[in-house]
Every structure is written in structure tokens, then in C-alpha cells.
């Protein structure tokens, strides 16, 4: 069994934090992990992505081949669209619906959402609102991780454990906000999936 995930977003949105939590949970469960990420210039407010590969068998390429990704998990809707050609035909999209506008030619958000809606199995999450409910606008990444948690091949309790470990140095309030964000995302995904 394997799972190939494209994580997407804008520099500063905490893509690598999502990756850390999934990686660590996977290692704990004895899975093989490879995760390619972006550092340096691109992190300055530009498009960032991470290729995260989990498998019970040896993983060769650090990059996911186009057509192999099982899931795109994105904290920003425009960024979601950048990686569609990585998805396998039955692949799934879990995307934030909250645009991060820092370019002058940002497209009409409705058009973006409609393009996502046409792309097979998808789930759109209002990560901005849920992060606000969790107590910090900076927790959108954990909202999205929560929303995807039901689809991941790692266990929920292990994800939660590493969210705690990741944010512990920043104090208890930050840990609680991120855990709440995770739960809100998870619940929202469950409700949305239930509606279909």
C-alpha cells in the first residue's frame, strides 16, 4: 500500500508543518517516507509545494510522478490548480476555499472554485473561517490536515501526537488552537462527505 500526496500553498502558510506531522506519524507506524520540499527564495510569499510519499515498500523517486498522486492537499485554492496533472484518474482534491491574494492578476475566486469542482473527487473547506473559530488565523494548515485526516493512511491519534510535539515550544495556547483547528477541519470534512 502507498499514498502519494501533493501539499500545496503559499510560502508562510505552514505547508512544511503539515508535512512534519504526517512524516512523523508515518515513521512511527513503520512506513517508508520521502518528502521533497522547497526552501530558499521560493518561500518568500511564492507558490510552495511538497511531494509527500508514504509506502510500505521502498520509495525511489523523491518527486511524485505525474499521474501517481492520490491526493492534493492544499491550503490555497489557486495553488490547488497548479498541480492537477499530478493526480491519478481516481485521485482526490482537498482544498481550502479561502484565497490568499498577493499577486495583482489573481483570478476570479469563483472561477477557481468552479475549476476545482470540475476536477473529480474534491472537498472544499472554508479554512479561514474554521481557523478563526480555532482561535488563530495561522492554523489554516491544521484545519486542512484535519480535513484530510480521514483519507490518510496514518492514524489520527499519531497525527494529533505530532501536532502537540510540533507546537509545544510555542506554548499551550498555540497547541490548543492547532488541535482545535485539526478537529474542526476533520469535522467539516466529515459533514461535507456525508452530504454527498
Amino acid at each position: 500500500m502507498k499514498q502519494d500526496i501533493i501539499l500545496a500553498g503559499v510560502g508562510g502558510q505552514g505547508i512544511l508543518s503539515i508535512a512534519f506531522v504526517i512524516d512523523s506519524a508515518a515513521l512511527k507506524e513503520g512506513l517508508m517516507v520521502k518528502q521533497a520540499e522547497v526552501h530558499g527564495m521560493s518561500q518568500r510569499g511564492g507558490a510552495v509545494q511538497s511531494h509527500l510519499r508514504l509506502s510500505e515498500e521502498r520509495i525511489f523517486s523523491d518527486l511524485i510522478p505525474k499521474g501517481e498522486a492520490d491526493l492534493i492537499l492544499s491550503v490555497e485554492p489557486l495553488e490547488t490548480l497548479r498541480y492537477l496533472d499530478y493526480l491519478r484518474p481516481e485521485g482526490a482534491l482537498i482544498s481550502s476555499r479561502s484565497p490568499f491574494v498577493n499577486i495583482p492578476d489573481y483570478p476570479d475566486p469563483e472561477k477557481i472554485l468552479s475549476a476545482i469542482s470540475q476536477a473529480g473527487r474534491h472537498l472544499l473547506i472554508d479554512s479561514e473561517e474554521l481557523a478563526r473559530q480555532a482561535g488563530s488565523s495561522r492554523t489554516q494548515n491544521m484545519v486542512m490536515l484535519g480535513a484530510a485526516s480521514g483519507l490518510l493512511m496514518v492514524k489520527k491519534e499519531n497525527l494529533v501526537e505530532f501536532i502537540e510535539i510540533l507546537f509545544k515550544p510555542r506554548g499551550e495556547n498555540i497547541v490548543l488552537a492547532n488541535l482545535k483547528a485539526f478537529e474542526l477541519g476533520r469535522k467539516a470534512a466529515g459533514l461535507l462527505a456525508g452530504k454527498k
Binding site: 520521502k34 526552501h39 521560493s42 518568500r44 523517486s61 510522478p65 505525474k66 484518474p89 483570478p107
Partner: protein, 532 residues
Amino acid sequence: MEKEILLGDEAVALAAIHAGLTAAYSYPGTPATEIMEYLIKVAAKTGGLKASWSVNEKVAYEEALGVSFAGKRVLVSMKHVGLNVAADPFMNSALTGTNGGLAVVVADDPSMHSSQNEQDSRYYAQFALIFCFEPSDHQEAYDMTRCAFDLSEELGIPVMVRLVTRLSHSRSSVEPGAARKENELHHGAGQDWTLLPVNARRRFKILLEKQAELVRLSEESGFNSLVLNEDDRSVGVIASGIAYNYVRENLRDIRRGPSLLKIGTYPLPQKLVETLVRHVDTVLVVEEGYPFIEKNLRGTFGLPGKILNGKLTGHLPLQGELSPEIVRAALGLKPLERLKVAEFEPAARPPQLCQGCPHADTFHALNRVLQDYPGANVFSDIGCYTLGAFPPYRAVQTCVCMGASVSMAKGGAEAGIFPSVAVIGDSTFGHSGLTPLLEAAAAKTNMTVIILDNSTVAMTGGQPSYASGESLLRMIEGLGVPKEHIRVIEPLPKNLEKNARVIQEEIDHNGISVIVAVRECLVEARKKRRSG
């Protein structure tokens, strides 16, 4: 020892520590930065190890040579273009030889994710006549780095480990080995390390005589492997470093695919290459970076009676990094089926200066003044501020290499450009801006240097700067810039008019001026606040 998930860079760093490392030196540069970041973290926790950022790569390399001279093990790491800066000591260190093991870790950046070119460091290893490892994955990054130290001591030459972005910045699990102790202090032999012609000639001869042994070691290395397909002799593949992974990603069952030679060491394992070439009709070379192996094989006359495919024949692109898809096509396999979607070309989202970045305020003031000078040119340098080339600023016109802004502004001024302005960050100034400013001050060149002092190396994640604050001002004065033409501004929106006036005054001054724009990097200030 227990498995842990590490970046490729971190796997190298951990291996160096386990190999009995005494000291490590580096200058920040993507994708090599995280090697030193990891070492500094460990050094802070455990003590003993000397791990610190150097003022530039040349200095780093020379510091490393000093450690090796003293018989201790040392690591020097840098990005590919950093080795250009360190090329002088690097080339000569192959002649001085090493006493304590010296591992040179160079991270190339094919596709130029964060670089000015995609030069391939394997050419440098070949140029210097030293041994080079090219890991394909994290475990090899660890194992090869450990071997690099042993081999450096065994052969008495520096050994290179060549990384590429996709390994440096990818995470995977590594199973470390047992740690070894540090070496004892033991001086190098002075007559070997004093490269006067009489010694250098003797040392070069010794280096040349070692070459056959290097090839033999490469041929015997367990990091290379050859699988021959006895049933199908049509095609053989030579794949090195992470390119091997892209081949295996597409050919998971190795017994059914073409004959495959995996290369992880240089000089090339000649006998293995020869065996593969003899075995097949067509050879495909898959390598990340320049067509290094391919050119070595092709020579001037090619391989008589064989077809050699690779980057030079267009089977793989000469530019940019490889990917599983690109290699798949070169292997003659049809693309994987993908999700069918409506065409939607998402608007590009290039990197940009952070909201409220001090550089933006400096650029606004500079643009305000220069709009009255159609003949002006702003020479710039390497750092976050290079993003000032993009809209909405369009404030700078060059970015070449570390420190080039100051030297190019002098050359530009001497050719007749007015105003000739240099824009350079504090750390880049410390790296390579001091020497050209020394010269420009002596020549009283009519130019204006703007040093953006945000007190950190921001682009690579906030490493310390050697040329910042009060000491930066004293350095500028010490280099011979007249005190009345060293001006300090605070780049803030409310100071726009005031700052533009200062820039105007210094452009009006017929001679050398330096304006220091002082305001801390926002990202770093935020980090400091968070960590209390």
C-alpha cells in the same frame, strides 16, 4: 541506532558528526544551508564541536584546511556557486593534500530554484583530480559522507560529496551507524603544505600518480552496481545519483528492464562502464546536471559500433532538473494516465518581498530619486533584495554574483554611467563587498553604494551577518569612505521624503558615498519575539 527522518543535508551533517568531526565551516546558500544549521544545533547542545558560519566560502574552505592540517576531521559545505568563491583553496588543496579527513560537500541546484546558474560540481572534482561521491538517497548521503572522511585520510586528498536540491531538501529515514572518536592533534608535514613551485611540482606529481588508485577504488566501491540483462542486450542504462531513482521509479522490476549501471562514485568506475557498454547496443545515460558521464563516454569520437543517448542527443533535456516523467519518456515508456481536467492556466505566484519589508521602503525612496535620471543604473547583488527587480519596484538591473554590485557600479561609473548605484545586503557586503569598496574609495569613484542592513542573512533563513550595525559603519570608514559621505537612513514609509533627500544629496556628491539603510528583517524580528 534508531532510524530518524532527516533532510538529505541533515543526513550529511549527522554522518560527519558520527565520523569524528572536529569542526565545520560554511556560508549560507540554498540548497546547502541546512547542513550547517543542523551542525550548529548539535554543537549548541553537546559542545565540543566547532560549527559556525564563515564570512564567505573561500574563508570557510581555508579554515577547513587549517583543521585538516592539524590532523582533525573537518567538513566544509556550500552551494555550487559557493565553490567558485572557494575555487582557489579548493584546487590547491588537492596538491597540499589532507592530514585530517576533509569532506567538501557541494549542493548543486539544477533548475535554479534559488540560484544564478546550474553548474555541475562533478566537473570541479574532476578538475581538481579528487574523488567524488554522488548519493542517490538519504542513507547513501549518510554512508558516503562517512566514507568520504575515511577515504580522504586514506588517499591524503579532499573528497567531495555532491548533492542536488532534490536530495538536500527531501526528507527520508536514515539508519545511522556507530559514532567514531575525534582524531588526535597531529601537524601536517610543512614541505607538503608549502606550495612553492619546488614543492608544488612534487605534490602535483604525487596527485597524478594517485589517479589510477582513485579509479580502482571507484571500481571496487559498493555504491556502484551493475545488473546485466542476459536475455535482452538491446539497451543499457547508466544512471547516477538521484537520476537512478527516477529510472527505478519507472522500472521497478529490475530483472525485467534494461541492463542498469548505477553510479555513485567518481572518477568513473571504468571497468563497470566498459562491461555495460560491451553488453548492449544502445546506452542511455541519465544524470542530474550537465552531461558529465555522457561526455566522458562520448569523448571526441563517440562509442564505435554503439548508440549513445542522453542529454547531448536530446533524449533528455540539457537544462533543468530531471523528473520521473522526463526519465520515463527517455526510457521509451508511455506516460501514466492522469486525471482529466479542463485547461486552466493558474496565474504565476513568484516569490516577493514580505509585507512591510524594509527593502521595499529603500526601493521606493531610490526610485523616487532616480526617476529624474534616465541614465541611472542600479547594480544589485544576491539576497532577498534581488526581488526588487520584479514589479512593483523594478528598482535594480543586475544580479550576478556575491559582491558584484559594488565592483560593477565602479566599472559602470568609469564607463560613464551616472548615477551609478550599488545595492547590496549587509551579509553579502561582508562576504565580497569590502574589497571592491576599498578600491572604489581609493579611486574616489563617483558612485553611490546602498547597504541594506537588516542585520541577518534573510533569504536563507536568518543566519548571522558579520557586517552589520555599528561595526559595519566603522568598516566602511576604515575602507576609506569619507565620514561625511557615510549616511544612515531608516527605511520606513514615514521617512520616504527624508530618505529620498539623503539619496539625492549623495548622488549629487561627485565621489564615493555609502548610504546604510538600517532596519531589522521583519521575519527575524518576529522569530526573536516568538522565542522570547
